[in-house]
Symmetry: C2
Subunit: 341 residues, 2 copies
Amino acid sequence: MTALRLDGEVLRAIDQTLLPWRERELELTGAADVAEAIRRLAIRGAPLIGVAAGYGVALELARDPGALASACQTMLRARPTAVNLAHAVERVRRAASDVPPGRQAAAALAQARSIHAEEEAASEAIATHGAELLAGRRRILTHCNTGALAAPGRGTALGVLAELASSDQLEQVLVTESRPLLQGARLTVYELRRLGVAHELLVDGAACGVIAGGVVDAVIVGCDRVAANGDLANKVGTYGLALAARAAGIPFVVAGPTSTIDPRCPTGAQIELEERSPEEVRSVSSSAGAVPVTAPGTPCRNPAFDLTPASLITALVTERGVASPVAAESVSRLLPSPARA
Amino acid sequence: MTALRLDGEVLRAIDQTLLPWRERELELTGAADVAEAIRRLAIRGAPLIGVAAGYGVALELARDPGALASACQTMLRARPTAVNLAHAVERVRRAASDVPPGRQAAAALAQARSIHAEEEAASEAIATHGAELLAGRRRILTHCNTGALAAPGRGTALGVLAELASSDQLEQVLVTESRPLLQGARLTVYELRRLGVAHELLVDGAACGVIAGGVVDAVIVGCDRVAANGDLANKVGTYGLALAARAAGIPFVVAGPTSTIDPRCPTGAQIELEERSPEEVRSVSSSAGAVPVTAPGTPCRNPAFDLTPASLITALVTERGVASPVAAESVSRLLPSPARA
């Protein structure tokens, strides 16, 4: 299973909205296609949407040499919170702008491939650093999906768990279902099953009590955006897990590539948190498609992300090492020097 | 709408598993019927299952004068956590035992009616005390369902909200969906709509972040069992809400009749927390019935309740007044003297 792969002038992506019921591949040929797939979460996960966005701009440019600016705009509007998308679009835009018109498409594609390769390498390094950090923690709870469906390679938080499992250091993974779109129940369970890792699924509301019950040795999550001071924007439910982990005295670990760090956001307060359609709350995706779970027209709030303050995070694991405690200084040391404030 | 009413020798109960899609009334004629309805949550809510259990024993006794002991056993096995059920069964058992055989059924029925009337009065008193306590808190978050479907009268926590709304003191109720069985999405939304109270529905994972976001002035929940020291067993998700309310500096209020207090449980550690079928996590109840949300056979944990320590509870509102701070001494003062340690 590969979440995303370039095949000539087509970007092939597993439609994650259909998993685990159907394994269908989308064929995306331009920026609008890719943006739509990202918007409806057919492609998701901060690192993966960055990679897809890079390809989206490059594919569009191959079709229409004059489309650089508009392709970038299309991609940037797809989702607001994960900064990887903006980072990737900017890198591809700059690579294309730096060369003569006739070579822009090739330069954009090379840059998109390079982002892809870097994120794949980052995943491997994160798995190594994270497994070192969590050695001896045998029962680990994770949230949402942060595996091979969320990032190139084995993923971020789930990549760490896969690494621990591969060296027989893991007894069990506890997985929250991650409503509204059930990335835990649908995608993480699907990945853990394929990896052969023992797991149990929980409803989101059960997680804090299970952590308090003493059967969890650590919590690990991914990240959609990390502010310069280490504040975290991640899938709704993350903040409650961090509170429960703190109260239980177990580590709360965040894993993600440095491309998710946004040095231009001083704190979490500056991160735009996406609010998605109320229809996602009113219904649930099942093997029978989306089915209603409340009265039609019920007013809903549907924040896709919440904020966890750096003070609740035990460690931030990236491909460039681990920040712990998590604060402006330790986060800054993870960034390549030009990106530092 | 009346969740439960005695009609001659039939107990009529709305089948809450079908709401809001269908309003169907069950006709229950004996202890086994009532126990089954309680077990599958067609009748639910700590006060309501107490009332139903009292009627269950009385109806069985009317059919079979020798069935007192077995009817009590049948009821007691229905659900383990809410202590109201055990309280009610014991009261009806004692009332029947105290009279000659020929009058047992009548005595049992009179006692069951008395429990029903007391709980209805308790709901009203809770609404009054709770509304006083929460005056000025205009945006209140609640969890699960604690209204007229969970208790006689207007309910417990939701009765407080109905009282605040009736005097125009409430701007909005935020409702968590309360997976796995969606009592918030299905039942609380249904009740608030009928009451004409403005509301918004959230997935459970979103609640802590929304509380941290400053748009919630208080959290109020019901209770399935309260230990002598004030520790609370309530629907999974409650503990996380209490942590988030504490972190945000807003009140976390628990509302319920004193029949939910168990003076024989010194602390929450002695409360038996029901673990329910994994199938509830693997599927979701929708307008199309139960539909799968994960791969078949996925291993699940499904605790129905979690524990919230008394130290996180701002106030316990009962029909006999308010305990605040919540601790062994203040809880004990709420109990009628014979029940006190």
